[in-house]
Symmetry: C2
Subunit: 600 residues, 2 copies
């Protein structure tokens, strides 16, 4: 059995040494838990991931999903993987004990999911969507809806999907046109076409519960007229069991660059005017509900980007240690034996960059997940409020940095292996193809950028941005006194100051009515603030590593030395880029905005 | 029939307005040629590319190469594409009339090949390798060898391959171990295993001529003991026709991330001790011969990277113009119709970046190709020498910038299409997968970087680097007087000064014995000098565009406005990055070098 390409030591460091998640157990909700139960869950996840996911990731990619006797059929091992994680309780892990959940902190469930994703993001997508749909239902569904559907979604009998995107609208949710007409009995007749709905059709579960955005007849135009519906594949009979089909049809199979292990497809709801949906919450509040769950969902995507980066790092490091080739430039003796390529500076660069992007992303994602817990369970209202603000402003970065830099990390992994990396004899090219999706689904990087600059940094008079700046400043203060870290603390302070001034300049331009100009370079802004946030995330890790390195020996000493060197890499190679980027942003550069269609 | 995704207007601009290739016809070698014959060849290439290549690029990717009755079989359209380009004379285009060639300038043949590559890089790889092998033979082969093989390689009856890489050696050619033992009759018995040999086995041609690097028994270790052999798949009989098989066996089919239309595979020479090869040139000079042809070969890879970037740009632009979605941030009226996404600033950014990378790469590649012609035919020795120096120092950049930034451009193309870009319903994801190889084959980016910093910039006391700096300064002087371009000229002068100082600092460190440290960040140096070279390439285009924009109207005016805006993009968004990069380089940053294996 192959070892999972995700460092158990790093997960341990992040959860217990950096984030101190045991602290969460002081809250009554998590009072039954402690390191022992956390470790047990993580160990179970690792074991299932190694047994049921990892061995089939390549197979899922190679064989894809087939139509067999008219049925949408993933590779058979998908079902075993699905069931194993469901039976071990992972679908219900963070839910209340009252509904059969384990009341695990969200951050611990995410750390567990990291293992499944390292096994196979493709196979885990069925769980991922079920968890997202169940979350939505648990938070906004009526008691009756919850009673009917939730227990079965938590035990794995029913899977779920999110059916938002429409062929004509894409990222422009305001233009959604799926219609909902009251049927008279409290339900709605749903009619519309969705696209890129993942896991919309299969036989892994007894029923598939679609969370569908649509418009009730007569609803306002735009985003204020969108409602959320629960639309099952099979209607429930009186006993609550799946009965009649509900006129939901997957109408095609899209061939994709990666993720062949599941479908992402067009789906017709109500092709024969016989699709019933049930309104979740109040009319016209669908987008609000969807966005309320967005932080969690987007953390999940960020986790995928981070984990795939970790996997590529792990695979390319193993290769670099075993592959002898060439000599150091200073050695011109052809009789000397070749060195392992891990000794070459350029290979070290690509490995170190991967480590910095991958572990930095994972640290950021798990920190954000811990904010989800803080937001709900921190002891005082101010701390809960602060956690919510941090989460709001960080989410676009948590979603996009791991996607963008994780994909770059995967490209480095391919490059470390050279020609071999381009072949399917090694897993790295698949990680690259899989990761490329993460900058697209659940809101593209460009959409994240508009969310960040157009909404988050200015919200509540800049309260979220200020909360972030304050948190960063706290780390700077902590690190300033340290001999090894003081210089980096100063560099981060400078970069933060620069990004602050840039932020206020952009917000001022926006408030002054220059909306299109102020937002024109939003993606560059997202990247810039992202670099600062990642540098901060690394400095936080370095503070812990520096303290623990004293007196550490052997593997532990090496582990902390690696953390410190990756932090140095980020500060030497990456963070300085923000200076030029801030200059471009603060100067309201109009180069792209002024480009005309006919000039292309 | 679909239109070729390569702008005819841009090719025309580059050849005739920027590079003034008609000027080459003053040399007797090209005296029969002129714009008319050039245009005729380009037109023929475009027609064949549209008819025989483009329609089958996706099919080649989807169906790949199969084993049919033990024969290695690409899709059947491969043969038609191969024959059409061969019959139109493209395999012989730059060769002497005496051997059936057309004596076209190299730069014009490369522009023609751009069309085939835009049709399908995969299908064109058979021609590409045949041309490379024939070049080697024409330059270094004996008269007898040429008489036997060359005419058939130029008319398409024989194809060729380059068999350099070995499984255990990869980029480390010094360690290659294929053996050559004199057989007594002037030939050698060849024995060894190669890997990643492209197009090594198929039935498209009557014979396959492998150019094989190997070691004659008793030869020195390292790179000084390598010889070059001509090894046919079938030995020629007395009549010069393919006869007995020559014990060359393709031993496997590698599944790859892209380029499924041809094989890149392990090949055994002399498994049964019955493989004969003929020495090309003198013993132990193989690597010298190979490197002598390297500039041309690497320009060819750069061309592939540039053209694939152009293709993705073209496809994503067409999509962006047709796809309505969303509204400008300043427009909050949900009743207004959605705009075409080409109107969104972030889409413009991704299109403009693609244009800047793709057209900048193509301009650079064709300029380098024109240096190949200048090197051979410039009127005076000093000009020929200068062209050779420029070519030497530029080749690592010409090979790697289009590969790296072209792949980034293709990633932008995917992003412009969003979820659709990730599917196989559009061509952009295939361009991305295909282009990802270009940073690997024919010397990885890291190898290019060592070639540039470890060899090229320091050669002949920095003569090549100085020739490049002087050429850049000439353009700066030209642009300084122009109102619109003066500021950019100044910025380029500053960046050039910075990279000059950095270069001398690195060379001084190297000369001072700090070899490993000076070369540790070679890849960053390659990128930095590459950015300066691309900015220069854009300023050169802008000088021409600015002059011609005066009085231009309609499509032409738009074309020149686009060139100027893309140039501005490079100067605002890309060139400023070199400042921080130079600081890192000149400071001899040791972050990556000091990273230890056990810290990863």
């Amino acid at each position: 059995m192959s070892e999972l390409p995700l460092s158990a030591r790093d997960v341990e460091f992040l959860l217990y040494e950096l984030l101190d998640v045991e602290r969460l157990c002081e809250h009554p909700r998590f009072g039954e838990h402690g390191r022992e139960s956390f470790d047990a869950m993580l160990g179970t996840a690792r074991r299932i991931a190694e047994e049921r996911f990892l061995p089939y990731h390549r197979k899922a990619d190679e064989e894809g999903v087939k139509l067999v006797d008219g049925k949408v059929t993933p590779i058979p091992e998908t079902k075993a993987a699905y069931d194993a994680a469901a039976e071990a309780g992972f679908l219900a892990a963070h839910h209340d004990e009252a509904v059969g959940g384990l009341q695990l902190p969200w951050v611990v469930t995410q750390a567990a999911f990291a293992h499944f994703k390292a096994g196979s993001v493709q196979l885990f997508s069925y769980h991922f969507l079920t968890i997202a749909a169940a979350n939505m239902l648990a938070t906004f569904g009526s008691e009756e809806q919850k009673a009917l559907y939730l227990p079965r979604m938590l035990d794995g009998r029913f899977t779920g999907t999110m059916a938002l995107t429409e062929p004509q609208a894409g990222s422009g949710l305001a233009d959604l046109s799926t219609k909902a007409t009251p049927s008279g009995d409290g339900s709605y007749r749903i009619k519309g076409a969705k696209i890129f709905t993942s896991c919309a059709e299969h036989e892994l579960s007894e029923n598939i519960i679609h969370m569908v955005l649509g418009r009730i007849e007569g609803a306002p135009q735009g985003t204020k007229g969108i409602s959320l519906f629960l639309v099952p594949r099979y209607r429930l009979d009186r006993g609550g069991e799946p009965g009649e089909p509900n006129d939901v049809v997957m109408t095609g199979m899209l061939e994709k660059m990666g993720w062949h292990g599941n479908t992402s497809s067009p789906v017709n709801f109500g092709e024969n005017d016989d699709c019933l949906g049930w309104l979740i919450g109040e009319p016209h509040r669908g987008l609000f509900y969807m966005f309320s769950m967005m932080n969690e969902a987007r953390i999940g995507i960020g986790l995928g980007g981070a984990v795939l980066a970790c996997c590529g790092y792990s695979a390319s490091l193993a290769y670099a240690r075993e592959r002898p080739q060439g000599r150091l430039p200073s050695n011109k003796d052809p009789d000397s034996p070749p060195v392992a390529i891990v000794e070459h500076a350029d290979i070290k660069r690509m490995l170190l960059a991967q480590k910095a992007y991958a572990e930095g992303s994972l640290a950021l994602v798990l920190y954000a997940a811990s904010l989800v817990d803080e937001q709900k369970t921190a002891p005082d209202a101010a701390a809960r409020k602060r956690a919510g603000l941090l989460l709001d402003v960080l989410t676009p970065i948590v979603k996009s940095y791991p996607a963008e830099y994780g994909t770059l990390a995967n490209s480095h992994a391919v490059q470390v292996l050279g020609g071999y990396g381009y072949t399917k004899d090694f897993p790295v090219e698949q990680y690259l193809r899989d990761n490329r999706l993460n900058a697209i689904h659940e809101g593209t990087t460009g959409i994240q950028a508009l969310d960040l600059l157009g909404r988050k940094v200015g919200m509540e008079d800049g309260a979220a941005f200020t909360a972030l700046a304050t948190a960063i400043e706290d780390t700077i203060e902590e690190a300033r006194g340290d001999n090894a870290l003081g210089a980096m603390a100063g560099e981060l302070a400078d970069a933060l100051e620069c990004v602050k001034e840039t932020t206020w300049a952009l917000l001022a331009a926006k408030d002054g009515g220059e909306i299109d100009l102020a937002l024109a370079n939003a993606t560059l802004y997202l990247d810039t603030l992202g670099q600062v946030v990642i540098a901060w995330t690394w400095l936080r890790q370095a503070v812990v590593a520096a303290a623990r390195a004293t007196g550490a020996s052997g593997k532990n000493a090496n582990f902390y030395a690696g953390k410190l060197q990756a932090c140095r890499y980020i500060f030497r190679w990456e963070l300085p880029k923000t200076g030029q980027q801030c200059a471009l942003l603060a100067g309201l550069d109009a180069t792209t905005l002024e480009m005309q269609d006919e000039w292309f």
